[in-house]
Symmetry: C3
Subunit: 262 residues, 3 copies
């Protein structure tokens, strides 16, 4: 489905953090154009420049929003350079993001999608800085698309874009090789191992075997266990503690699902 | 008053923090059901699993919101286990929270209230994770209640629930024994000693006597003083500094109000 | 232009941080009065009591919001004391802030403005704490002004107020002496040197010369460069790193623009 009928919702996903005025300026840029919008701050605490983590969140979170939503994802170390900005229409939503791989996992898996190069300056702010396209390009455009500006006006259709992390585990005969994509406030280690593919397999971090549990409180405070997390993937947790601290690992660390003989 | 007429406001109080996508997903879950809602993030920085602090904030903050508000409080270490979820109607508002003591102080003090076991799965998300009921149960339900779903449809009436911290100081003959329930960004120590009950008494932390001041700027930068804080309780502050750091104490530390002879 | 027609937007700028319930209570206070308002959290992470940084953000951010917005700025170490609260009408907007210099740079540069002493208690909350006027005075008043209460009702006109940091660099014959006013999440050093005034000049921190770049990705990871930042001022950055850490400097540090002979 590549049709799009705006529902007035705009989601934001960035690495701008909460300690500056960047998120506030994005809200201002949206509401200055269209005060009736509803804004959802999906996450602003992506590690600076961490495109893969942002793609991971976007993949898992965007699907909880209804068709008609405009998703803005700005993790953009190339801001101000020649890097392009993509606008994609898929699953009834519009996505705006720099062309740096952030949208690639979504686009690759889409049954059908239309991708355009966002280059229609009439949609942007009158003055465009070289370091904050979130405020000057992404949000003014998102507000207009959410308000009814046709997707076709954003720019010309393109058929190629920068590839990015697939976000998929590597599927080998005896095992699934995944990794940690997010460490949350509680120290839970969120992996890309789909819960539906690890039945009967053993979860391992290096040589260490991680036991399964049905929910957090079934674990104890001295051993990590894994549960099916809220993203539908293997999540390693410690009941009342931090798995990240106890295991001393973080984003990018390998987590595997192996057949017991493996 | 146990009547409830929704006003379109939903308040959120959690220990999910701002560094992940959990709050964003809750907003998404609310607005996906009912895009017209107004959401108030009362606080998301409750220490992980700290039910008492959350109850303390809820008690003091919820009363500033008008009748008709739906309050969602999720500090929920038992998520996914057999623990129940409560829905309470009191003071013209509806409260949703896990049955872990979080609502107990409000319910105990309510002149009249109706408490139900939230178990009507038709109100929940189609898929329910074992670790994020905030997104899958609390918010979809809150959005529906805020949109007019009758309170009676949430589940059966219950007459008992888990008890929790009373949040009250211990009233002895010669003194009021209270404690610190919150340490804020400024290092202010917020206690549960009601300002109205400490007139003529001396505030002490251990043997140390804390002098009173009328407002922050009346203190100096080298001595803690106490003021009547914004929750109507004794608050220990240092003008231009952190009382928590200067005194080396935090949440749970005892603070007493004693008659001078005491 | 000192006319004001409310557009339903209220912006908030404070040093309350995100770790407490203070911002949530401000939202509650606004929406309790007027549930139709749209609230923009410009920034809540101003360093505690740092009036100059708040003034710097307000000066640069408020202009991105349309005429009709009510701006609330609360960095207020004197809360509860005799310090006054100002209400100013300029550029089609209304500003509320403590009289501690926060509004001074805006007022000084305004071609025309009307300033009033906010003292009409009928607009405030029924109970006023001595430590949280953001909740008890600023927000109830802002909600009413945003809802149509005439500016004239706020209090009497005043013609003097506390002066504050001019936020301007010192203009000498051979150089412009500026400083760092904000360090962002990325470690970028945001100065008050207007990009339009440094053409042909050399940017220096002490004896160290900082080379210019057009955008962040043009820099490298081992040397700071300066770009025209998103506030239109000189911003010192390290591509993929933190200029603040690499240079070991922060807010208040001097940054100069010198003619090469200077």
């Amino acid at each position: 489905m590549t049709e799009f009928t705006p529902n007035g919702l705009v989601s934001l996903l960035t690495d701008f953090g909460w300690q500056d005025d960047y998120v506030g300026q994005m809200h201002a840029a949206l509401l200055a154009v269209n005060p009736g919008l509803r804004i959802i701050d999906l996450c602003h605490a992506v590690l600076p420049g961490d495109i893969d983590s942002a793609a991971f969140l976007l993949k898992h979170d965007a699907r909880h929003l209804p068709a008609g939503t405009v998703h803005v994802a700005v993790v953009d170390p190339g801001v101000g350079s020649e890097r392009a900005i993509l606008a994609a229409r898929l699953s009834g939503c519009v996505y705006l993001a720099p062309d740096n791989g952030l949208l690639d996992p979504l686009l690759r898996k889409a049954e059908t999608c239309e991708v355009r190069l966002l280059n229609n300056r009439e949609l942007f702010a009158p003055e465009i800085s070289n370091s904050f396209h979130g405020r000057d390009i992404f949000c003014p455009t998102a507000a207009k698309v959410a308000g009814g500006t046709p997707f076709e006006e954003l720019g010309p259709v393109v058929y190629t874009w920068k590839s990015g992390d697939s976000l998929e585990p590597i599927r080998e005969e005896e095992q699934l090789k995944g990794k940690v994509y997010w460490v949350d406030r509680f120290g839970n280690l969120i992996t890309n191992l789909p819960a539906g593919e690890v039945e009967g397999l053993t979860i391992r971090i290096g040589r260490r075997r991680i036991s399964p549990a049905r929910f957090i409180a079934e674990g104890n405070s001295s051993d990590p266990v894994w549960i099916v997390g809220s993203k539908g993937t293997v999540e390693i947790i410690v009941n009342g503690g931090s798995a990240a601290k106890m295991l001393g690992i973080g984003v990018g660390h390998e987590v595997n699902a192996c057949s017991e003989e493996g």
